[in-house]
Symmetry: C2
Subunit: 401 residues, 2 copies
């Protein structure tokens, strides 16, 4: 049999990084690569209790349900979103298999081959994959720690007439960036006056450290939801548990309806058991206290990793000080290619994601993303020692790449 | 905001039928439209026990897992498939969010815009939607109750050089067809010698009535899995519970790998909780006895619906006698358009799926699909009385459509 794969497959096939990182699974390699929550804080007892309540409810958790998702959970999410200034009804939103599915489905119903999508620089790698697979042209906008540069944004909109902008305004993946209010408003105005749809992807917004200011979502700054140029998505993956695979998306009803049509063809619906479990959790478990707990613990881990970075005192290496989220973004001296260095690191028993994966174009090859949420302090320490053993000679110029 | 949806959306937007059927949800309308299992036979106690075992296992059911799915469940499925003559390892297969997702992902990695896909006549409506959304050209092959007509198949392959054939060889949706061994072998030979990929979709194969012969899957007739021109998919939706949203797909490793890459972009992975629950069920629950139980009950319901059909004695109306599966396929006199009749039926409190939805081209508008598994005998009786009230005047020519 001579297999004749589609053009689309080529867009998926380029990741050597993924193959290397696969080697780290189930091994003794310390991985700072994934975006995994700490397992020791999963609310396992509360989930058990929630499951018991679900099963008391009889067979409804077993039957086919609505493509848009379990209505009571949608109502609970609407209540939670309203407290953040986003007023929508269950008809203006739906549930997906994590926010990754929102990115995929919205792209399918909104973007044609050749359409331009603007992204931050750097941006979430799995969004790039979705956009590439769709045959979109991805153009990155100059960005700093406050968000996209509004002048460059205006220039790119003029030049490329984009269909969509994809942004991560809170503790962005990978750069840990928080968009300023001014940039949020600026993006909104530029997009509204040019009919550009904004996909606001907010998986980390609730993992806020210390006294970091709460900024309004771009969706809440716009009219919402009717006629909004913002589609907002978030997820339970980072605040409860990823394996329950439940995200949500909110927006104008015509957009939600279109996403639901695409979802029906894609998988009919997501897991009802997961959705009913999350509903019971939201009703009977103190979600806010839990989020405060994990945010506090993650902040401690972040501070410890930053402390270790300071102690290592690597010449020419700089990083952000994350105000939330899951990642530290490292910039190394320009001559270091972190992708070329990855196999050596894996040999030394430590893994990271090379920054190259997060750029739509002209990558800064001397960057890397480190996750600080998954590893305990002991493991963080050991992993940083291993990374030190890899980086020291390269930084000192005594080892070539 | 002026929304500019993609071309793809148009492929999803055509279903007036879906909108009408939506009205039936949560109402007192008796629906023979869905493909829903009977809720009263869901193995709820066994699922409770399985969930308890999963939660005893600690936090692993909560963390991100492999895109390909939970390995122990894949091993259990491989064992079960081996007993049916399909020998694959967990690396030659993966889990999806129901077999619907297999159809979608395989189409994305294998089919380009303009490629031809051959289908049965009639065929599964949600497969048509996926193929249309992809921009494929769908060509139907003349089919009778034994499967595709092999002469027409050969002619269509010569004329259209298709990339893929989609078939439902056991108790097909909607026609309840069982492919003969000769047709299975004929399809395989024609496809193998022309490099046409076969997607063998087998959700109903285990819902077998009475002494109906077990025929080998097309996948098992080919070399398997390496170099096979068959990709096989099935699901737990019909034999355990749809809401657990777990299907599987088996095939050549290069195809499985490509599907996994597409799945990673689509939703990262399906629900681990569902997968671990199904694994515990397969280990500690007598799945075969359960399948025998529901098959027996479904056969009784089918026989009762057939008995009611005979009693109604509608002139010029014929149907298949299902040997398994979930549907009776009705052909009415040629002047009756079942789609035009649907609003009247819904007004009378009964729903079905008009046959037009199951044709890629040149639909037989005088057909309808009736589900017999979901409704209890009492409800079946009442629903058929309502349908009788709608059909009698139309069949007698005393009411126009």
């Amino acid at each position: 049999m001579n297999y004749r794969f589609s053009k689309t497959l080529e867009a998926f096939s380029s990741s050597a990084v993924r193959e290397i990182l696969k080697l780290t699974q189930g091994s003794s390699i310390i991985s700072f690569a994934g975006g995994l929550p700490a397992e020791e804080f999963f609310p396992i007892d509360a989930v058990k209790e929630a499951l018991a309540r679900v099963m008391e409810g009889g067979t409804s958790a077993m039957q086919y349900g609505l493509t848009e998702g379990y209505v009571p959970l949608r109502q609970s999410i609407c209540k939670r979103m309203a407290a953040k200034g986003m007023n929508v009804t269950p008809d203006d939103m739906m549930l997906t298999t994590g926010s990754q599915q929102t990115i995929d489905l919205l792209t399918r119903i909104y973007v044609d081959e050749g359409d331009v999508i603007l992204v931050e620089r750097p941006t979430y790698l799995a969004a790039i994959q979705v956009f590439q697979a769709r045959g979109a042209r991805i153009v990155s906008v100059q960005s700093d720690r406050h968000g996209m540069d509004l002048d460059d944004l205006a220039a790119q909109i003029r030049e490329h007439k984009p269909k969509m902008v994809y942004v991560n305004p809170n503790f962005s993946n990978p750069a840990g960036r928080v968009w300023s209010l001014e940039r949020r408003q600026g993006l909104l105005e530029a997009c509204r006056s040019n009919d550009v749809l904004i996909l606001e992807d907010d998986p980390y917004g609730e993992l806020r450290f210390g006294t970091t200011e709460v900024l309004p979502s771009i969706f809440s700054l716009d009219q919402h939801p009717e006629g909004s140029c913002v589609v907002y998505t978030s997820t339970f993956s980072k605040i409860v548990a990823p394996a329950l695979r439940t995200g949500w998306v909110m927006g104008d009803r015509s957009v939600i309806r279109a996403i639901a049509q695409a979802k029906q063809a894609a998988d009919l619906q997501s897991s009802t058991l997961d959705q009913q479990t999350l509903y019971q959790l939201m009703e009977h478990f103190d979600m806010d206290a839990h989020i405060e707990l994990i945010s506090t613990e993650y902040e401690k881990r972040m501070q410890y990793m930053v402390q270790l970075l300071r102690e290592k005192n690597w010449p020419g290496v700089v990083w952000n000080d994350p105000q939330g989220g899951m990642f530290i973004w490292l910039e190394l001296p320009p001559h270091i290619d972190t992708q070329a260095l990855l196999p050596t690191a894996v040999q030394h028993g430590v893994a990271y994601v090379p920054g190259v994966s997060f750029y739509a174009d002209q990558p800064l090859r001397n960057t890397m993303r480190l996750n600080f949420t998954y590893s305990s302090p002991e493991v963080l320490k050991l992993g940083m020692e291993r990374l030190d053993a890899v980086l020291k000679p390269v930084l000192a110029g005594t080892s070539s790449l």
